[in-house]
């Protein structure tokens, strides 16, 4: 295994789905159901059995809209406000209307959700305004249950192939070029439609531990989705709205105030005082977190040591077995007992992820990108605060729409020279006698991301970032060196990461205002609704460099009153409450 082999194959399908994490499997199931004759391929860099953010399971649905607890209108309003108004509501509203059906479907797959004594879903309040968090007591079964459905529906699964570039022709998508991660052999997949569900750009900033894989996101999500969409000419929206999360220091996993909050846990400063009213992740919340640290009241902690023994035991049970089961090992190693000590948190490095913020490939309410036949869903598509249920639901929209699209389409012709060019690019690091290994290219890129792009954002620093990235690119293109197919996968990832770093700098420089709290805190500029109440769309310019433009926010479907607009700006606990 891992020796570099020379080989290329070509296969055809109706719908190619890239990424078999969360959105991808649901897209496959829905497409097959709608168009049973369609030939569907689900392709993943890892193994679909255990790939993506939910590889071990999940603690709950962070954003379910369940009748009796919330209405689609309320949810749409909350997400619009949480995202500082920059939201094409149609996609959020459609999600809010249809996600309940998806929950019932997941339930029928054997993934159980918490119910109360009357058998009703037991939804918890975590967000600032509404009630949307639905715990999953057996959340560790989610991936297995999905996999069973994929087998039952006879979806063709191809594991351990990494997609590197999309093929386009006749103004639409034509397929994708993929590379085997264990042999470097090529697979060209011709497809009438392509659905991308490649997850977040999770390896953009460098964790403070210095460990390249010590990320919040599943570290196999290295931003290829963003890079591939960019090189194919698709539009990417609001990339300057970075993902920055409040995490357990060093462990870099969620502290899970969403689990602990409804049981009485909360985020506190070093004095054990509550300083934010709501633990739901937003740019404004992260700004308060940052201000608390700057004000000398840090570190910030998750506080559970005031809770009753049974409550702490229950929190431990959930947090130590499902989503990130090494969390228990971590705390044990550090001698942290939730009953006695608070859990130290910190501000994460930056990434792109609409699952938690809003940075992603631009899509509409059918999950269509700006390229006909190309869809995106989940963390890499720009529907804000989408989380796991958003990935499932928009994956479903993409699968259904693509099933109709391919019924009337034939393959688009593409230029064979594109394949040759990609082979040359991919294999270049295998042709050298020696050089710079991909881990050093990646480390340097990500260290520079931390130094110059991490908010608060400063114009001069971002210009320096662009200069340094260009130097790293020069090295990457002319001197990167790999010894086996596994290292080649890392080299291709390093290239996606560098593309994302360039996009992050360009997008952040373009929006000359501050918005989304810490996510786009440009210290030299105030919020400026007059000029910047709009999306920014980034595409690959004619000079091969990122180009940005403004795009209007579509008229709202659900109106928002003037006095509701800044609900998320009021996060700080008032002094009288803090003193309690």
């Amino acid at each position: 295994m891992d020796e570099i082999r020379d080989g290329i194959d070509q296969i055809d399908c109706d719908i190619l789905i890239i990424g078999g994490g969360t959105a991808g499997p649901m897209a496959a199931l829905k497409a097959k159901k709608k168009n049973p004759k369609a030939n569907i391929i689900l392709l993943d860099k890892a193994n679909v059995k255990r790939s993506g953010a939910i590889c071990m399971g999940m603690d709950g649905l962070n954003n379910s809209v369940i009748p009796g607890y919330a209405t689609p209108e309320q949810y749409t309003k909350e997400i619009t406000v949480a995202n500082d108004g920059i939201c094409d509501q149609a996609a959020v509203y459609r999600y809010a209307q249809e996600c309940y059906g998806i929950i019932q479907e997941l339930d029928s797959f054997g993934i159980r959700f918490q119910k109360d004594q009357n058998g009703e879903y037991d939804v918890k309040k975590v967000h600032h305004i509404g009630t949307y968090v639905l715990p999953m007591p057996n959340g560790d079964t989610v991936k297995k249950a999905l996999y069973r459905q994929l087998r039952k529906a006879r979806i063709n699964i191809i594991n351990r192939y990494m997609a590197t570039r999309l093929l386009t022709g006749e103004g639409r998508v034509a397929g994708a070029i993929c590379v085997n991660t264990r042999s470097a052999e090529f697979l060209v997949v011709r497809a009438k439609a392509v659905i991308m569900g490649l997850g977040a750009a999770g390896r953009l900033g460098l964790p403070t531990s210095g460990y390249l894989y010590g990320t919040y996101e599943n570290a196999s999500n290295s931003g290829e989705g963003y890079a591939m969409a960019y090189h194919a000419g698709a539009g990417l929206a609001n990339l300057e709205c970075y993902q920055i999360n409040p995490l357990i220091k060093d462990y870099n996993g969620p502290a899970c105030a969403y689990v602990a909050g409804p049981m009485g846990g909360y985020t506190a400063n070093a004095r054990g005082e509550r300083f934010i009213e709501c633990d739901y992740w937003s740019g404004q919340m992260m700004q308060e977190f940052f201000d608390e640290l700057q004000g000398g009241k840090g570190p910030v902690y998750l506080k559970l040591n005031h809770l009753a023994e049974e409550t702490v035991a229950e929190i431990e049970r959930v947090l130590h077995i499902v989503e990130r089961p090494t969390r228990g090992h971590f705390h044990r190693g550090r001698g942290t007992d939730y009953r006695k000590q608070m859990i130290e948190m910190h501000i994460s490095e930056i990434g792109f992820c609409s699952g938690h913020s809003a940075s992603g490939v631009f899509v509409d309410e059918h999950a269509r990108t700006t390229i006909p036949g190309l869809y995106a869903a989940g963390d890499m598509a720009n529907v804000p605060h989408n989380y796991m249920l958003g990935a499932f639901t928009h994956g479903a929209f993409a699968g259904e729409d693509a099933a109709d699209y391919v019924a009337e389409m034939d393959f688009a012709a593409f230029d064979q020279a594109d394949i040759e060019a990609e082979r040359t690019r991919v294999l270049a690091p295998t042709k050298r006698e020696d050089g710079i290994p991909p881990n050093q290219i990646e480390y340097k890129t990500r260290r520079l991301v931390n130094d110059y792009l991490q908010p608060p954002k400063v114009t001069a620093k971002m210009h320096l970032a662009q200069k340094r990235f260009a130097e790293v690119r020069e090295d990457m293109e002319n001197a990167m060196y790999v010894r086996d197919a596994h290292e080649l996968m890392r080299a291709l990832e390093a290239s996606s990461i560098l593309d994302c770093a360039d996009m992050a700098a360009a997008a952040s420089l373009y929006r000359t205002e501050s918005r989304w709290g810490l996510y786009h805190n440009r210290v030299e500029y105030e919020r400026d609704d007059e000029n910047w109440f709009c999306h920014t769309i980034l595409t690959k310019g004619d000079d091969g460099m990122p180009a940005s433009r403004k795009q209007d926010v579509k008229p709202y479907v659900v109106d928002i009153a003037e006095d509701e607009k800044d609900a998320y700006a009021k996060q700080r606990v008032k002094p009288s409450v803090a003193a309690e």
Binding site: M1, A46, S209, Y211, Y213, A219, T326, G333
Partner: protein, 80 residues
């Protein structure tokens, strides 16, 4: 530009006595999302799984899915 031989300690350990890679098992290698595990063959021809690349997300499918409980996931030293 020759490459250095810098050592690094890996977080995932496999108990050779429990591992049944000899019988053809490759479960941990198959499921790892980062693809960092491999099967090693000794000079005598016996096989065990091991962590070949220090690129671990400490996520645990390898440990959870191993049929004999041979895998232990520790935290990478840099963040533990």
């Amino acid at each position: 530009m020759p490459l250095a031989q810098t050592a690094t300690t890996v977080p995932v350990v496999v108990n050779d006595d429990l591992c049944i890679a000899d019988k053809g098992c490759t479960v941990c290698v198959d499921v790892c999302p980062l693809d960092v595990l491999r099967i090693a063959e000794t000079a005598e021809g016996s096989k065990t799984a091991y962590m070949k690349y220090d690129e671990c997300w400490y996520c645990m499918p390898c440990e959870a899915d191993c049929p004999t409980g041979a895998v232990t996931v520790n935290l990478p030293y840099l963040l533990k």
